[in-house]
């Protein structure tokens, strides 16, 4: 038998055979494991718990897309600098917003911000270029028991897109061979004229992180999150150093991480305490009461 094989394949054919074997084994290795939607979500959620503390700062530039003739132009609307301390148990965010136009400032006026309930802290300082008389140094704190959503970077990457019912019959996992990532596709209201479709790209080579999320209705994309410039900040811990989101063609937000100070190191609880200067108006949502810091009733 061996003689027959030896006669069939001469020594000249060995390199060819070897290369065929290599290609087959490479293709076999590159072939992804087949996963169900719930299994993929389990993996992504487990990946999130590898991050238990992070200190970082980043900037967000918000652009409004305007039509100038036939061309589209991006107009800078606001700049924001943020500093975050995050653990799964507590959140601290310090945010400084600078608005470029009065219109943007007016839109923000009714939407001023939140926060502390003992577990999460968010403080916001707004400096307005357009309207100097308003909001310099304003901090509004609102106490929401149990309703606070921690929109930190980690939650944005790992958790926000996985809330949907993965046992839904219309959800499926597709392998995107172009980018070598899993795509979790979920369709809601499949029978309606404009079904909602959510597609989430999950990268197994970057710790099952979400690299892109797209929401569309009736084929039109209305929300698109993309995470890029991935770096392995520690062994097996990946972070995107830039991400963008928004309604394509209307509003675009470009974010860039400036500095990752610490990752997976203990942060003392005192670092999460918000320092509100005396005289700042503080709104307590529990008691429905507005008071000034230092003059509490």
């Amino acid at each position: 038998m061996f003689k027959a094989i030896r006669n069939r394949f001469s020594w000249r054919s060995y390199p060819v055979l070897l290369s065929v074997l290599l290609v087959v084994s490479y293709a076999r290795a590159a072939e992804p494991a087949k996963l169900t939607p719930s299994q993929l979500v389990m993996l992504a959620r487990a990946a999130k718990e590898r991050y238990w503390s992070i200190i970082y700062s980043f900037t967000i530039n918000t652009y409004r897309v305007v039509k100038v003739g036939d061309r589209r132009k991006r107009v800078l609307q606001s700049k924001c600098r943020q500093f975050w301390r995050w653990t799964p148990w507590r959140v601290y965010c310090h945010s400084i917003d600078t608005f470029q136009s009065t219109a943007a400032l007016g839109a923000m006026k009714n939407d001023r911000f939140l926060s502390f309930d003992g577990t999460a802290t968010t403080s916001m300082v707004i400096t307005a270029h357009a309207n100097q008389s308003w909001s310099q140094g304003w901090v509004q704190c609102q106490i929401n028991h149990g309703n606070l959503i921690h929109v930190s970077l980690i939650n944005t990457i790992w958790e926000n897109w996985l809330w949907m019912e993965v046992t839904n019959a219309n959800s499926k996992v597709i392998w995107d061979s172009k980018v070598h990532q899993y795509v979790l596709e979920q369709v809601l209201d499949a029978d309606s004229k404009t079904p909602l479709r959510y597609r989430t790209w999950i990268d197994p080579n970057r710790g099952f992180a979400v690299t892109r999320n797209e929401s569309s209705s009736g084929g039109k994309v209305f929300l698109d999150y993309r995470f890029g410039h991935w770096h392995e900040v520690k062994k097996g811990l990946w972070l995107p150093f830039s991400f963008s989101y928004g309604d394509p063609g209307v509003i675009e937000n470009k974010c860039r991480i400036r500095r990752v100070v610490e990752i997976n190191k203990a942060i003392p609880p005192s670092d999460f305490a918000v320092k509100i200067p005396n005289g700042t108006p503080v709104y307590n949502d529990v008691t429905n009461h507005l008071y000034h810091k230092g003059k509490q009733p």
Binding site: Q39, M42, A46, F208
Partner: protein, 232 residues
């Protein structure tokens, strides 16, 4: 002489009697738990074991052994998680029934707390000790572990709610997709934390998952950690 001794004896008896009268006045009010509930030792309201964060209630009766009515009492307690309110249906002139609701916070162990009932007499109060043992709980972080290719050792951080340290008593694994736990050991980290060092030998190809059930000494509820990954 014997009259003098007799008079002194009379005085002593009077003194004793006056003391006992004072005691009687002080202890004229009695606080007991409701008859259906536990009261050991007498005078102490024993709640027994309570799970952290769980609400427990006890009915308490205050009555006088004399015929006088129980006046309006002012109740004071140092623990904000003890709530006391009078039960008007069960109370009458001779007897006051109070409902004590406890919701001890997570993180306390053996607890002795006191409730003061003011208004027994001027500048006097009745002190009612409350005793309870709040069961410890153990949280293990992370709850979900992503098994990485090539990695076999994983650290789990033990966070007990009551005591500083708990001991691992036993572990058990449930695996549908071929994850083997070769060892689970409790170790101390350099920063004083208590850790579990888990050694995993993942086998199989494709999606793998397992649940590690950890039981600790003196802790009723086991901690569960979910391991998940893709085998190679």
């Amino acid at each position: 002489m014997k009259y003098i001794i007799g008079f002194m004896g009379f005085l002593a008896a009077l003194g004793l009697a006056s003391t006992s009268v004072n005691c009687a006045v002080k202890s004229g009010y009695f606080v007991t738990p409701h008859k259906n509930l536990m009261a050991a030792p007498p005078g102490i309201i024993d709640f027994g074991f309570i799970k952290p964060g769980k609400t427990e209630t006890q009915m308490v009766r205050i009555y006088r052994n004399q015929q006088a009515a129980v006046g309006k009492l002012r109740i004071k307690t140092s623990a904000p998680w003890i709530k006391i309110r009078e039960s008007p249906k069960r109370s009458n002139k001779k007897l006051k029934v109070y409902k004590i609701t406890l919701k001890p916070p997570v993180g306390i162990g053996k607890v002795w707390e006191k409730i003061r009932f003011h208004g027994i007499r001027k500048n006097d109060y009745l002190l009612v000790p409350i005793r309870m043992d709040v069961l410890p709980e153990v949280n293990v972080w992370p709850h979900r572990v992503l098994l990485m290719p090539g990695q076999t050792d994983y650290h789990l951080w033990i966070r007990p709610t009551l005591t500083k340290r708990v001991r691992l008593a036993a572990y058990q694994s449930q695996s549908d997709h071929g994850v083997k736990f070769t060892s689970v050991r409790q170790v101390s980290a350099a920063d004083g934390r208590s850790l579990l060092k888990v050694r995993v030998a993942p086998v199989g190809i494709g999606f793998i998952s397992a649940t590690l059930i950890l039981r600790f000494k003196g802790v009723a509820e086991p901690a569960k950690v979910f391991f998940v990954g893709i085998g190679h």
